[in-house]
């Protein structure tokens, strides 16, 4: 399951061993396409927590992470960013990117 981050509050994600944050927006086509892939991966990868963050309603977090383009995905390890990628990626590419980041 992909949880929704609201009110600029990502404190829960920061406590996880591994978390993937998907910075997106409702009007962004590639974001819409990325969402179902992350949903699927979240069911497969039980050791990783998945979060979606709308940059228009969580503008402080988007600024804090310096997000300039969406979708941007960030992998956090115990709250620290360890990997970042921009733009739509096919499912196998996204899966192996996350697997490498949490290896």
């Amino acid at each position: 399951m992909v949880k929704i981050i609201q009110n600029n509050d990502m404190s829960e994600a920061l406590t996880k061993k591994y978390a993937v944050i998907d910075f997106s927006a409702v009007w962004c086509g590639p974001c819409k396409m990325t969402a179902p892939i992350l949903e699927k991966l979240s069911d497969e990868m039980s050791e990783v927590a998945f979060y979606n963050l709308d940059v228009d309603v969580n503008d402080e977090l988007a600024m804090q992470f310096g997000i300039q383009s969406i979708p941007t995905m960030v992998v956090l390890k115990e709250g620290k960013p360890v990997a970042q990628t921009v733009g739509f990626r096919p499912e196998p590419a996204l899966r192996s990117w996350i697997e490498q980041a949490v290896a």
Binding site: W27, P30, I37, P90
Partner: protein, 289 residues
Amino acid sequence: MRYDIAIIGTGPAGLEAAITAKVRNKSIVLFGSRQLSNKMQVVDHPIKNYLGLPEATGKEMAQAFNRQLDVLGIEITEKKVTTVYAMGDFFTLQLSDNSMVEAEAVILASGVVAGKPYPGEEQFLGRGVSYCATCDAPLYKGKVVACIGGSKEEEAEADFLGEVCQKVYYFPLYKDKPTFTHDNVEVIHERPVEMMGGMKIQTLKTNQNTYDVDCVFILRAAQFPGQLVPGLEIEGNAVKVDLQMKTNLPGLFAAGDIAGQPYQYIKAAGQGNVAALSAVNYLDQKKRG
């Protein structure tokens, strides 16, 4: 509904792929132009080496192809595909009217795109460079944008920008005189050379001037393959394929000029045939699980 196979392009490769897929009873959607390929419409000398059609000009060849489409009841969907998303076990195709179509397999046969991206184009993609006016115009409501039009067909999209945006600088890359219904669309006969900015695009530079803009819409008749399909492996300016016309993305095949040289009609048709049979094979294997 989800189609078995979506085919992009109506040159010999796309048409032969559609014909073969149809003969194999697959549900297909074929994107392109009822004029078939632009190239065929302008070739008025006889094409000597196409088997079965001796001395046919491009137009005559197109007529022969159209007859075969009619016999098989194959329709052409005249919409432009802006992006193909590989979703895992299926594909979502985003169209320029902002609608979506899904397919189990996709065959790319949209031809070779001359030239290369502008300096800055790839850098600012999604940050002030867009390939789809209908999709992204709402983001630039009341703003100043530039639009580079590759052919007269792109004028409708540029006119729509005029409806939404405060000001549109339109740069035609063709000779015909552009016509717009919105008078805030200004036609400028200069050659765009570079896109510049910081975090986002700020300036479009031409061979004579610079223009401060919030977005540059680049409307080409055909997309560069790597932009059409995010994650697609490219070699030079061609899609990387094997002898079965498979690309690096399972379920995605390429045929014709987009798969590299030689740029020949008969080779394109042959590859379209192989791509369709490979797609049929892929669907059968998937069904068997």
